[in-house]
Amino acid sequence: MKGRPIVRDIVAAALLVALILLPVYADLAGDQFTLTLFTRIVVLAMAAVSLNLILGYGGMMSFGHAAYLGIGGYAVGILAFEGVVSGFAQWPVALAASALFALVIGALSLRTRGVYFIMITLAFAQMAYYVIAGLARYGGDDGLTIQTRSRFFAPLNLGNRVQFYYLCLALLLAAMVLVWRLINSRFGLVIQGTRSNDTRMRALGFPTYRYKLVCFVIAGTLCGLAGALLANQADFVSPAMMYWTRSGDLIIMVVLGGMGSVFGPLFGAVALLALEETLSGITEYWQIILGPLLLLVVLFARGGIDGLLRQIGPWRKRQEFTKVGA
């Protein structure tokens, strides 16, 4: 981050500090619920980071991203059910399965554009949902309980809430750094160029399909990891994780937080889930507010939270066009 600090940077830094110190607060206040909630937020933020890569930076409107949460999650769940509890076996499978699914779906879907792309990614993800829901052995619609969390070497114990939280947080931060470097690399510039003007990119000599596909696979794999974490966090997997409306939730997080920004997905995940918690305390019908709220964001605040934060405060920087993280 260059230059003078802007409000957005301060808020982001404060949020990071808060996240790091959260378990300390939870311990002191005896508030385990918040720790669990924020573990979930952190994991979903990671999923949002992966979606932001293809949606925010790549302009690929995938409406089937939740499928990878399910695939990663079920990789862990199914293997655990069959007696394979080692994380060293489960997690690579989760990643590989997600990557493979992303490769196949991406290869087919990326030949299309715009609305077709949206509908096709949605349809294929829903297909995965039905396939998994059809597996009676693994609980079908009811889902599958995970008796033991993924096992790694001692002293790492995922069953320990605090350790697990820090693991998730570390992985989230690693993911954010990865995306940040990626987006400013040669590869990332191609992806951004493709979002900006695909025809021109091809005229320049880039085989854009190839790059989009690789980006798609990276995003899917990262989300698969988030799925594996989610399975551990909830000690439970169900097809509902990958129902298409969950993909919508992820998109809301990315857009609400601010597409095409490094911190956007994190802002979005925190905002959405915190909003859910507070609103549901007020009224049972909180979604009635969420719907129109989303509508308003779309119509009036396209830059999301990140965009809004950039525009307020004493050292405000006008919406930068490219410098990511700056």
Binding site: R181, L182, N184, S185, R186, F187, G188, L189, V190, Q192, G193, S196, N197, T199, R200, M201, R202, A203, L204, G205, F206, P207, T208, Y211, V214, F321, T322
Partner: protein
């Protein structure tokens, strides 16, 4: 006699009932600046689209530097050294001016499956980009978002991007579209300077520019070549006069 750099044979393209390109043949020698003129709807942009690979022809052949590129996709032709500019500005508006040109450089410099290093700090990419911007006179605007540029500057940027990839041949689609007299004159000078280094196919309406720059001219009407040759011959050609130049004769001037 050197082999022609670009050879087009029997090129044809229809859109439903409309014939956009009709048995078109064209030869361009290396180092030549070849202008393609014709009334609106003559199929000039369609021709460029087919040459660059954006549009698939129904039939015919295109040879570039001895290679048959008729079936090659757009990005491959670009890699072979055939670059194009767009009639309607086609830039990366949400990226900076320098980023735009650097992307053009990046396309020709190795592959882009590099995932970590900051590409905006690679001199290999940024240097040639700055040089290209210098040539078209936009060096001072390098760090602005492309959307902040005027229309004339957009045309300059278009040219910079086409040049950045160090192509062998440029397909220029109305580079002067929408430019005022001063900007046009500047563009003509730039193109004149480029003539020495590159082969250029120039589609233009601005007759002054065409006659000032072209080594040879081809006239297109309804997708068909009605005349092709030296500028003086074209100017004297009856058919061409009737079909196209007509009263515009007076505007041609002393070019």
């Amino acid at each position: 006699m050197s082999e022609p750099l670009l050879e087009v044979e029997n090129l044809a393209k229809r859109f439903g009932g409309i014939i956009a390109t009709d048995d078109l043949a064209l030869t361009i020698a290396a180092g030549e600046l070849h202008a393609v003129i014709g009334p609106n709807g003559a199929g000039k942009t369609t021709l460029i689209a087919q040459l660059s690979g954006q549009l698939a022809s129904d039939s015919g052949r295109i040879r570039f530097a001895g290679n048959d590129i008729s079936a090659l996709p757009m990005h491959r032709r670009s890699r072979l050294g055939l670059a194009r500019s767009f009639q309607i500005t086609s830039l990366f508006l949400d990226l900076s001016v320098l980023d735009n040109v650097a992307l053009a450089v990046q396309a020709q410099v190795g592959h882009s499956f590099r995932f970590w290093r900051d590409a905006r700090r690679e001199p290999e990419l940024r240097q040639p980009a700055r040089v290209a911007l210098e040539r078209v006179g936009l060096a001072g605007r390098a760090d602005l978002p492309a959307s902040a540029l005027s229309h004339g500057e957009h045309r300059q940027l278009e040219l910079a991007m086409a040049l950045a990839g160090k192509p062998r041949m440029l397909l220029l689609d109305e580079p002067m579209a929408g430019l005022g007299p001063e900007e046009s004159a500047r563009m003509v000078e730039m193109l004149r300077a480029l003539k020495r280094e590159l082969t250029i196919l120039l589609v233009e309406h601005d007759m002054e520019a065409v006659f000032a720059l072209a080594d040879r001219i081809t006239v297109l009407v309804y997708g068909r070549v009605i005349a092709s040759g030296a500028p003086e011959d074209i100017r004297a050609n009856e058919e061409v006069r009737q079909a196209y130049l007509g009263e515009a004769e007076g505007e041609v001037g002393h070019g």
